[in-house]
Amino acid sequence: MSIEKRGFWPWYLQRITALLLVAGMSVHFFLFHFSPNRYVSRYYDEIIDRFCSPGWIAFHACLLSLVIFHGLNGIWGIFVDFNFNKRSKYIVNLTLWFIGTVLFGAGIYILIWFATKNGNM
């Protein structure tokens, strides 16, 4: 992912989102894979009880947007490295935007679904 081919902002934002994701993913992994409550914390009732406060919803919405941007921007960086023609780049760029929008929309819809089930929001 050379900075010459991709421009400054995609490169810089990839680094910034990476640093934010280190913190966000550590919290996510601890809660759902390392903590003593990791088994129950994945199930419906526990999510409704513990993870539907405005703070947790905001945290997961931020984590979702960061991970989608970082993942798709990374794939774009790999693609750009292969020096495809302008038309291919345009199609891939459009496809990645579409995938990102669908993933973000679906993820936010899931969060809203959970949030509106416990009456906290």
Binding site: A18, V22, H33, F34, Y43, Y44, I75, F82
Partner: protein, 122 residues
């Protein structure tokens, strides 16, 4: 296609720690992005109600589910630690220390892999 062939030829020619780290980072990055689809798809079972959601999640509470989660942990840890290494090299000009940083990343990775056996697999 030519560029893809050149990339593989480059890997065969330059077998160094930096090159391995570069490839590990790309493969783990693509894998995690693909996993994101699976993750959203699994969670979307909530649209069919509590039972459907719990049933979807329970598939990860089997032996193969725990192995899958452990592999996921290793993939995320490898990408995350190498990402910190790359960011440190890029932002603080630590290119000369890249091999040492790789060693530190590898050590932390092995610690996480060890803890993961206790917390994810067992």
């Amino acid at each position: 296609m030519q560029k893809i062939k050149e990339t593989f030829a480059d890997l065969a020619k330059n077998r160094s720690i930096g090159m391995y780290a570069f490839w590990i980072h790309r493969i783990t990055g693509i894998s995690i992005t693909i996993f994101l689809f699976l993750h959203i798809w699994t969670l979307s079972a909530v649209f069919f109600g509590k039972d459907a959601y719990d049933h979807a999640i329970s598939k990860f509470d089997t032996s193969s589910g725990y192995i899958f989660q452990y592999v996921l942990l290793l993939v995320v840890a490898a990408h995350l630690l190498n990402g910190i290494r790359i960011t440190a090299i890029d932002l603080w000009g630590l290119t000369r220390s890249q091999k040492k940083l790789f060693g530190i990343s590898l050590f932390i990775f092995l610690v996480i892999a060890g803890i993961g056996i206790l917390t994810v697999l067992l």
